[in-house]
């Protein structure tokens, strides 16, 4: 038996506005509300609503044989609440089918794990509460932002009570092994590791509409035959939910592909569908040792999309340097802004690896250039420093965060 396991990532960052140095200390609204509203409404219409409707139909038609899992970020859900509440309703209807699983992640879709374990745990816990509240289930499987993963993370997440964790089935961690089996992280006791089959996943997510691809056009039947030919326990198809209708537009035939996929897969008697929790009950075939963080981004499958250049490294360090002050301040507004700035997308926008992966980066970037992204971000960090000082936080370290001169940001 080969089980097909679908996991879809649902995420919208709170995009920043162009925040000039002259606004530091004068205007602490860092976000582009109009743009966020536009994007969320657009993607709701093109992707979330029609795809949810279709998935719901498919689950009902197959009486739950077909099933899927989601991870929805807190920043996405909050923006649905504000701009497109009907999207939340449609996810609730999916939850009500009893065949849809919701996974855990960091509420703000962050790289907190790499910088602050405390912040990481708090965000995961916030996210878990959100899933419970809206979808009436307690997540048992964890997926980290952008599938960033290593041994140490698996241990931490196991300690937090999770039964399974997701990661990229990258060649450099697998070697000769196949992603189509359940593994156990090297230094963990029980938690199961589910690996993305990136070839089959990316056939849908990236190559589906590529006319230059030798397999174009991709039909549901052809794809089902590929899955049927796979050896192993599972074929994990992990991708951004926005694949349907947003990355691959409706006119590419992506919805019709999805509509026919379950029945085409079920034509093969040895194929069924399972969700991550069900997969995590299977016995692992072996251990997998991953020291360096692996991710699902770009050809490198590492952290370089977010932390590849000095601007990115410096921006994220400066942000996390503020953590202790933010906590001590007890200021809820500050805490929330600080957390929204942690969203990994802000660092992704500063990526300068434009020579190999430029297309994807440019498509998702609200700024003209990574430099503009960095400037807006650092200016906002400077403003946060001022706010901390204004409410009486004092320390030498805070002064060193203070990178712009008093003439710009005003004497405190």
């Amino acid at each position: 038996m080969v089980s097909v396991c679908f996991y879809f990532q649902v995420h919208q960052p709170v995009r920043m506005r162009r925040y000039p140095v002259f606004d530091i200390g004068r205007d602490s609204d860092y976000f582009d509300h109009k743009k966020n509203e536009q994007v969320v409404k657009k993607v709701a219409k093109k992707c979330y609503l029609p795809t949810n409707r279709l998935i719901n139909e498919l689950i009902r038609k197959t009486r739950g044989k077909f099933r899927v899992s989601y991870s929805i970020t807190g920043t996405a859900l909050e923006q649905f609440q504000e701009f497109a509440p009907e999207v939340i309703e449609s996810f609730k209807e999916l939850a009500d089918t009893g065949h849809v699983e919701f996974l855990s992640e960091t509420y703000y879709h962050t790289l907190a794990y790499l910088y602050s374990k405390q912040e990481f745990r708090e965000q995961v816990s916030l996210h878990k509460k959100m899933v419970r509240k809206h979808f009436k289930q307690t997540p048992r499987i964890f997926r980290n932002t952008e599938l960033v993963y290593n041994n140490e993370l698996a241990r931490t997440v196991e300690d937090m009570g999770y039964k399974g964790i997701l990661a990229e089935g990258a060649d450099h961690i697998l070697g000769w092994r196949s992603p189509n089996y359940i593994y156990q992280p090297q230094t963990s006791k029980k938690i199961r590791l589910l690996l993305k089959n990136y070839k089959l996943s990316d056939d849908i997510a990236f190559r589906f509409s590529n006319r230059g691809w030798s397999e174009h056009p991709l039909t549901a039947r052809k794809f089902a035959d590929w899955v049927a030919a796979a050896e192993g326990q599972t074929v994990n198809l992990f991708m951004d939910y926005e694949t349907f209708g947003e990355h691959q537009w409706e006119d590419t035939g992506i919805f019709s592909f999805l509509e026919h996929l379950p029945s085409e897969l079920m034509r093969h008697s040895h194929i069924d569908f399972r969700n991550p929790s069900e997969m995590a009950r299977l016995e692992p075939v072996g251990k997998l040792d991953v020291h360096h963080p692996v991710s699902w981004a770009d050809v490198e499958r590492d952290l370089s999309a977010w932390l590849g250049n000095r601007m990115q490294q410096s921006a994220i360090q400066r942000l996390y340097e503020l953590e202790s002050y933010i906590r001590r301040s007890g200021d809820k507004g500050l805490l929330e802004d600080w957390r929204k700035l942690q969203t990994s997308d802000h660092f992704y926008y500063m990526c300068t690896k434009w020579f190999s992966d430029g297309d994807v980066h440019k498509y998702f970037n609200p700024y003209d250039s990574p430099y503009d992204g960095f400037i807006a971000f650092m200016n906002a960090v400077n403003d946060i420093v001022i706010r901390l000082k204004t409410i009486g936080m004092k320390s030498k370290a805070l002064n060193s965060c203070y990178v712009l001169p008093p003439s710009i940001v005003g004497e405190i």
Binding site: M311, T352, W354, F374
Partner: protein, 400 residues
């Protein structure tokens, strides 16, 4: 090839571009005869560009006498003729009374040169040579390529168009067998303003020379001050006034910055006054014309190079700055902004945005460093052999 300037006798990007392009063409084995108008004393010029300067087949420089430079307006030309060294009855006989006469005279000479010099293709750079190109085509019957480095709509800086120049440009473009534009930005103007079908225009972006000798670390202007540089003709087109307004805005917030205006032009006196009027005369340095041999040093002295052009068909200077490891901020209304990514971009009229970006670059060292590193790397792809190859492809299509 017909051009109006060639280093070292050049006052801007046109000469630099012709130099780089012909060198690139020579690299690919093309044999180029380059015709420039010069005043007396052209022997020096020929000597400087002797065949030995170029590998393979040589570029030959032919001079015919004319006091015009590439960026001269009709009014300026009349002023030149009035100078004691040029004026007098004899001079007025030798040189045409005005720019139009000069262009026609040059065209007539160009026609006879075309009869004598063997060639397969005629390639004319910018409006002053278009008539020469047409004359040469009439005389030899060879195909004509018009290379548009700028249009009258750029030079005016949005302040009107000289009808005479426009007519020559239009005539050149319509007579040409093929048009080369230095950017998509310029191609757009050619199509929009001159009624040329887009398929007749080929975009060939410029490149930059890499032959600069490694020069010693330049002296700092002062120990504490950071330097923001403007370099180019001080004319409406280049936006020096926006540079000064931006300087004022930056200086409202920072005191340790010097703004350097390199180059000369008709707006220079006005700009010096403007700096005083804005109360920043002590923070703005006007260098006057910057000689070629000093260029790299000037770029290296700067922490940021700014090109706030109102309308820049291409803009080689940002590439020169990047070649020297200097971060750049460029106007979005420029051809070069189509082809470089590792730089800051702004609207020339958006003083607040430009000032904010200057302050950020001077304060966030990671930003400065990343722009410097990536910019130095990116600029290496702008090799003149690439556009030269594209020109040869254009020639070949015309010849087959």
């Amino acid at each position: 090839m017909f051009g109006w300037e060639f280093p070292p006798y050049s006052s801007g990007g046109l000469g630099t571009a012709c130099y780089g392009l012909t060198k690139g063409l020579a690299h690919h084995g093309a044999s180029v005869t380059f015709v420039v108008p010069t005043k007396a004393g052209s022997s020096e010029f020929v000597k400087l560009l002797s065949a030995a300067d170029f590998p393979g087949k040589s570029v030959r420089i032919k001079g015919i006498s004319s006091p015009i430079t590439a960026y001269m307006t009709s009014e300026e030309y009349e002023q030149v003729l009035d100078q004691p060294s040029v004026s007098g009855k004899a001079a007025k006989k030798v040189y045409g009374k005005n720019l139009w006469e000069e262009v026609l005279r040059y065209a007539a000479r160009a026609g006879s040169i075309a009869k004598r010099e063997p060639h397969d293709v005629i390639h004319a750079h910018d409006w002053l040579t278009y008539k020469a190109g047409i004359a040469a085509k009439k005389s030899s019957g060879k195909p004509l390529v018009i290379h548009v480095h700028a249009t009258e709509f750029d030079r005016g800086g949005g302040n009107g168009v000289n009808q005479g120049v426009y007519d020559i440009e239009k005539e050149g473009m319509h007579s040409a067998d093929r048009i080369i534009a230095v950017s998509g930005f310029t191609k757009g103007k050619i199509v929009e303003h001159y009624g040329i079908p887009p398929e007749k225009v080929e975009v060939v972006h410029n490149a930059v020379e890499f032959t600069n000798p490694s020069c010693a670390e330049p002296p700092r202007i002062s120990e504490h001050d950071r330097v923001v540089l403007f370099l180019g003709r001080v004319t409406l087109q280049k936006g020096p006034d926006y540079f000064l307004y931006t300087a004022r805005k930056v200086l409202d917030h920072m005191s340790d910055v010097k703004f350097v205006v390199g180059g000369k032009g008709d707006m220079l006196p006005q700009m010096i006054e403007k700096a005083a009027e804005l109360g920043i005369a002590d923070r703005v340095l006007f260098t006057g014309f910057v000689a070629d041999e000093d260029l790299d040093r000037v770029y290296r002295m700067a922490d940021l190079y700014v090109m706030p052009s109102v309308s820049e068909p291409f803009g080689i200077t940002p590439l020169e700055a990047m070649r020297n490891g200097t971060p750049v901020m460029i106007s979005k209304t420029s051809g070069v902004s189509e082809v470089i990514t590792h730089c800051l971009k702004a609207d020339f009229w958006d003083i607040d945005d430009m000032a904010s970006k200057i302050i950020a670059t001077l304060h966030y060292s990671e930003l400065h460093q990343t722009l410097k590193e990536h910019g130095s790397h990116e600029v290496t792809k702008f090799d003149w052999r690439v556009p030269a190859r594209r020109c040869i492809d254009v020639y070949n299509k015309l010849l087959c």
